[in-house]
């Protein structure tokens, strides 16, 4: 079928007499429907047609298309232009014909044409690696990672709390103990293992008049005058024991970071640490705070490593003890 893209071949075959009757009629129909190309065909027909020598292309035909007689030295810049136009599909039919003719006749032009054909870039497989990041997801899908992260954090918190609460301390009523306890109207503290009682005085015994609270900021050994510090194996921090007695019936026990106590032992422990550790100590100590324990006595036992193993609170006829399991 003849089209505007291949009509030159048909025109050439037509004037060379290589078309059968049907094809010749098709050419004429094409020219009728494309009057603008009729002149081009007539121009071909005006050229002298040379007998086919049997080699396909008439031996002298191409000579008829030559404009000059010096084609042994082709006009390369001119051919460059033709080649690019042809490559870019911008050449007119006449330019296409000229391009084909020069390429056929000149080895130099043929080589240049091949080089131009090679300049067409072929896309290689390049993949953008972050394509997924460019995709905009619906809101509910965007929330999934955050929800998952929140779930993980929540789980970790639960596990952490469980770890601290799970058997680290316990509280139980024990038998009445009198011999190792030192009574006082407010608060008394005793530190030491069974049979080696060490009486400890409140180093910074502060009375708040308004609410009648007695606070022992830290526990100091009588002989060394140093705060009693222990290493808590769960919190992995140095701590001291602080006993707070709310007159007349509430007692709270906190284990505080030892670093919070200045050398003079008078500074208030940092609240955040206190709360943190309070939280870590968990509900067992909260249980203690709910007990009514007037006239408190405290016994603190240490294990062989110096860690607090037992804290006992003595009140009138009962003793409550917090023991590390």
């Amino acid at each position: 079928m003849i089209t505007t893209d291949n009509y030159e071949e048909y025109f050439l075959d037509y004037i060379e007499g290589r078309l059968d009757e049907n094809s010749r009629r098709e050419v004429m129909r094409f020219v009728t429907s494309h009057p603008e190309l009729r002149a081009e065909l007539e121009e071909f027909l005006d050229s002298p047609v040379i007998e086919d020598d049997g080699c396909g292309v008439p031996s002298g035909f191409l000579d008829t298309l030559r404009h000059t007689s010096d084609y042994d030295e082709p006009d390369v810049p001119y051919f460059d232009r033709l080649a690019v136009l042809n490559l870019e599909h911008l050449a007119t039919p006449g330019e296409q014909l000229e391009y084909s003719r020069m390429k056929y006749e000149s080895t130099e032009c043929s080589r240049i044409a091949a080089q131009y054909s090679a300049t067409v870039l072929t896309p290689d497989d390049v993949e953008y690696p972050d394509k997924r990041r460019l995709i905009v997801l619906p809101l509910w899908r965007r929330a999934i990672p955050y929800a998952a992260a929140a779930a993980v954090v929540g789980l970790m918190v639960l596990l952490t709390v469980g770890r601290f609460n799970n058997g680290t301390v316990d509280i139980m009523p024990v038998a009445m103990q009198d011999e190792h306890s030192v009574h006082s109207p407010s608060v008394s503290v005793a530190v030491g293992g069974a049979g080696e009682e060490t009486t400890v005085k409140p180093a910074d015994h502060q009375q708040k008049v308004n609410n009648h609270r007695h606070v022992i900021r830290h526990v100091v050994d009588d002989e060394t005058d140093e705060a009693v510090a222990v290493q808590d194996d769960k919190a992995d921090e140095q701590t001291i024991i602080q006993v707070v007695a709310d007159e007349p019936s509430i007692i709270q026990v906190e284990m505080l970071p030892f670093d919070d106590i200045d050398d003079d032992g008078t500074d208030e422990p940092q609240k955040k640490h206190r709360r943190k550790f309070w939280f870590a100590c968990g509900k067992a100590l909260k249980f203690v705070t709910r007990r009514i324990v007037p006239d408190v006595h405290v016994d603190i036992d240490h294990d062989i490593d110096g860690k607090v193993s037992r804290v006992a609170f003595c009140s009138q006829n009962k003793v409550y003890a917090v023991e590390r399991k």
């Binding site: 460059d80 090679a118 870039l121």
Partner: protein
């Protein structure tokens, strides 16, 4: 443009834009940034951009970002000396490698129009719209670019010894 259409654009065009930018800048990190920026601009203007024009919009944004980036990094001069260029080329043996090295030597404008033409199959009018050039400029740049590339192939002896096979 809807979110779904935008995502479709990412799927269809991200690779092409990335290739276009990467071949221009030859730096993966800068190329990723530019692709991301181009799509970010598309997303910001999604209400104004018609879905059928999205590809053109992305390539336009990418092209201007390339030009800006090239200006910042002091682009390689248009044509290096012949001897130096030949020295560079001697290490290549494959036509594709020679051609890629030659493309890298093209000025940004010429390189871009040829890539848009060959890689993406854009028409001259579309290339003019993307790059902001006139139609004549596009034609001239493509002609100059192709001529430059052809001469680099010539300098490297591509299609000279095996001429018979090539033609």
């Amino acid at each position: 443009m809807t979110t779904a259409e935008y995502n479709e654009c990412v799927t269809l065009y991200a690779d092409g834009v990335y290739r276009f930018v990467l071949k221009n800048l030859r730096d993966t990190d800068d190329s990723k940034d530019i692709v991301q920026e181009a799509f970010a601009r598309l997303w910001e203007r999604r209400k104004d951009v018609d879905g059928s024009k999205a590809k053109s919009y992305i390539f336009t944004a990418a092209y201007h970002l390339i030009v800006d980036k090239s200006r910042k990094i002091h682009e390689t001069p248009l044509m290096e000396s012949h001897d130096a260029f030949q020295t560079v080329f001697r290490q290549y043996s494959d036509t594709k490698e020679v051609l890629e090295a030659a493309v890298a030597k093209l000025p940004t404008d010429q390189r871009s129009v040829i890539m848009l033409r060959d890689y993406e199959g854009y028409s001259y009018d579309e290339i003019a719209e993307i790059t902001g050039m006139t139609l004549s400029q596009v034609k001239v740049y493509i002609f100059r670019g192709r001529t430059f590339l052809r001469r680099q192939l010539e300098n490297q002896g591509i299609y000279s010894a095996n001429m018979e096979d090539a033609v």
